[in-house]
C-alpha cells in the first residue's frame, strides 16, 4: 500500500481539526468579537472578551484536543497490542480506574498537598485497573473473556467512585458523581491544562515509533518474537504509555466513553488495517470527535450543561451496536 491515501487521511483530519478548533473558540454562551478579543488579550489590560477567549475557551479547546487525541490514540494502541477489536480505554478499565484514582486524590485532600498528585492518582488508577483486567483475562484472551473482565473491573471501579464521593468530606462531592462517570469539559482552566500536559506528552512519546512492532504483532506473538519484537518490554512500555496519557486526561475531564473504541474502528479500513498507520489518524480523529461533542454540548441551549460523555456515548453506543450486527452478518 502506498503512502498517498495515508497522507490524504491525515491532511483531511488535520484540516478538519483546525477548523473545529476555530469553531470551538467562537462558540459559547456569550458572543465575543474574536478579532478584537485576540488583540485585547495581548494588551496589558485585557477586557472581558479577551479573558473569555484566553482563560475559558482556549484552555477548554486545548484540553479537549489533548484528551480526545489521547483517548483515540490509546484505543488504537490497545486494540493492536491486545489484538482485540474491542479493547479500548473505556472497556478494559483504564478509564474508570483513572477516574477512581483521581477521585481518591482530589476529594481526600491529597491533591491540595501537591498539584501533580491529581494526574498521578489518575495514572496510577489507570495502570492498576488495566493490569488487573489483563491479569484476569490472561494473555491471548479471547474477546469474551476480556470484555467480561473489563465489565467486572469497570463496575467495581465506578461503584467505588460513587461510594467514595458519598463519603467525601466536601458537601459538593455527591453532586459530582455524574462528572466522573460521564466526563465534562465545563470550566476547565489553564491550571487543568498544565496538569494534563506532562503525562499526556510522556505517554505519546512512549508510543511514538512503536508502530512497526505493532505491525509485526499482527502476525502473531511467536512470529513477532522471532522477528525481534521484545514482547514483554513492548507490553510494559505501552501499558505505561496508555496509563500516562489516559490517566492524565481523565483526572481532568472525568471518564469519557466510546472515543477510544469508535475512532480506531472507523479509521482502520481507511488505512488498510495496518496498526502503524492507524496511530496518527486515531489521535486526530479522537480529538476531532471530542471537540465536536463538546461544541455540541455548549451549543445546545439548556439550563446547566449536559455532560460531554452523554454526547460521545449517544454517538458511540449505536455505533457499537452496528459493529456487533455488522460483524455477525459478515460471519454468518
Amino acid at each position: 500500500m502506498n503512502q498517498q491515501p495515508q497522507l490524504r487521511i491525515n491532511t483531511l483530519l488535520g484540516g478538519g481539526l483546525l477548523g473545529v478548533c476555530l469553531l470551538s473558540l467562537l462558540i459559547g454562551s456569550q458572543t465575543i468579537p474574536l478579532w478584537q478579543a485576540l488583540q485585547e488579550s495581548f494588551s496589558s489590560h485585557p477586557g472581558v472578551s479577551a479573558i473569555i477567549l484566553t482563560e475559558l475557551r482556549l484552555p477548554r479547546t486545548l484540553v479537549a484536543l489533548l484528551a480526545g487525541a489521547s483517548l483515540g490514540l490509546c484505543g488504537a494502541v490497545m486494540q493492536s497490542l491486545l489484538r482485540n477489536p474491542l479493547a479500548s480505554p473505556g472497556l478494559v478499565g483504564s478509564a474508570s480506574g483513572a477516574a477512581l484514582g483521581a477521585v481518591v486524590t482530589l476529594y481526600f485532600g491529597l491533591a491540595s498537598l501537591a498539584a501533580f498528585s491529581l494526574p498521578l492518582g489518575g495514572i496510577l488508577g489507570a495502570l492498576l485497573a488495566t493490569l488487573l483486567v489483563y491479569l484476569l483475562a490472561g494473555r491471548e484472551a479471547d474477546t469474551l473473556t476480556l470484555i467480561l473482565a473489563g465489565v467486572a473491573v469497570n463496575s467495581f471501579a465506578l461503584a467505588l467512585v460513587s461510594l467514595l464521593l458519598n463519603l467525601a468530606p466536601s458537601p459538593y462531592a455527591v453532586q459530582e458523581i455524574a462528572l466522573w462517570m460521564l466526563g465534562s469539559l465545563a470550566n476547565v482552566s489553564r491550571d487543568d491544562l498544565l496538569l494534563l500536559l506532562p503525562g499526556t506528552l510522556l505517554g505519546w512519546l512512549l508510543i511514538a515509533r512503536q508502530g512497526r512492532a505493532l505491525d509485526l504483532l499482527t502476525l502473531g506473538e511467536e512470529a513477532a518474537d522471532s522477528l525481534g519484537v521484545g514482547l514483554p518490554r513492548l507490553r510494559k512500555r505501552l501499558f505505561l504509555a496508555v496509563a500516562l496519557a489516559v490517566g492524565s486526561a481523565i483526572s481532568v475531564t472525568g471518564a469519557i466513553g466510546f472515543i477510544g473504541l469508535v475512532v480506531p474502528h472507523l479509521l482502520r479500513p481507511l488505512v488498510g488495517y495496518q496498526p502503524s498507520r492507524l496511530l496518527l489518524p486515531s489521535a486526530l480523529g479522537g480529538a476531532l470527535l471530542l471537540l465536536l461533542a463538546d461544541i455540541l454540548v455548549r451549543a445546545i441551549p439548556l439550563p446547566g450543561e449536559i455532560k460531554v460523555g452523554v454526547i460521545t456515548s449517544l454517538i458511540g453506543a449505536p455505533f457499537f451496536l452496528w459493529l456487533i450486527l455488522h460483524g455477525r452478518r459478515r460471519a454468518g
Partner: protein, 274 residues
Amino acid sequence: MLTGLLLIWICLNPALAAPPQRVVSLNLCSDQLLLMLADREQVARVSHLATDPHNSYMAAQAQGISSHRARLEEIIAAQPDLILTTPYTSPRLRHSLEQLGYPLYTLKLGLQPEQIVEDIRGLADRLEQSSRGETLIQEFLRRIAAPPESTNTPPPSALFLQPRGYTSGRDTLQDQALRLAGWRNRAAEMGLEGYVQADLEQLIAWQPDALVTSPYAAARDSRAERLLSHPALKRLFGAQPLYRVPYKDWICPGPMLADAVKQLRRARSRTQQP
C-alpha cells in the same frame, strides 16, 4: 350541659389546648425558629443540622437536645405532641405522619420580611410564647429598617458567587438581603431566578462591583470549590472586593437575616462606586 359542651370544644380546639410540651422540628429552618421561641423543655428533637455551626444560627442552643435525620421511627420515638414541617418536607413523610394522627404545624418560610414576621408570630402563638415572639419581631424589624443615609448614593451591584458557579437570582434570601442592605443583585437584574448554576462566561460578562460568598464549611477539595479559584475569575474579579457572609445568617428565613443585612451594609459603605 353547657359546661360539658364547652369542655368538648376546649378539648377539640388546639389553640385552647395546653401548650405543646414535646415539639419535634423536621427541618433546619424550623429548628432555628423553634429554638428561638420555645422554652428548652418544650423542644423534644431537632434535625441533625441544627447543631452544625456552619449552617445553624442556633447551633449553641441546640447542643444537648437530641437530634434526628428525618426518619419516621426517630420522630415517633420522641412521642411528639407537635411536629413542625415546612413546604420542603418530603410528601411521603408528611403523609405518614398525618395518617398516624400527629398534629403538624407548617411554617411558610416566605422570603419577604412580612412573611418572616408572619411565621414568627404564628409559631409563637402556637407554642404559647406570644410575648417572646413579639419581642423577636420588633427587634428584627428595627434592625432591618433602612438607615436614612442609604438613599443618598445609587446602589452598587453585587453578585453572590458559590462553588460550581451557583448564584442567587430573584426570589432568594440572598437577593432579599442584598436589596435590604442597599445593593443591586446583578444576577436578578440579568433575569436569573432562584438559586441556579450560571455559566462562567455569563458571570464574567456581568461585571459586578463586588462579590459575596458564603463558605459552606471548612474549605474542602472538590471540582465545585476549585471553580472559585478559576484564573478567569481571579483576573477579572481580582480587584473587586470579596465579602464573606456566614451561610447560617441567610440559609433560612428568620430573624438572623438581620445579621446578614448588617454585614452587607457595612460592606456597602466600604465599596467604592466605579
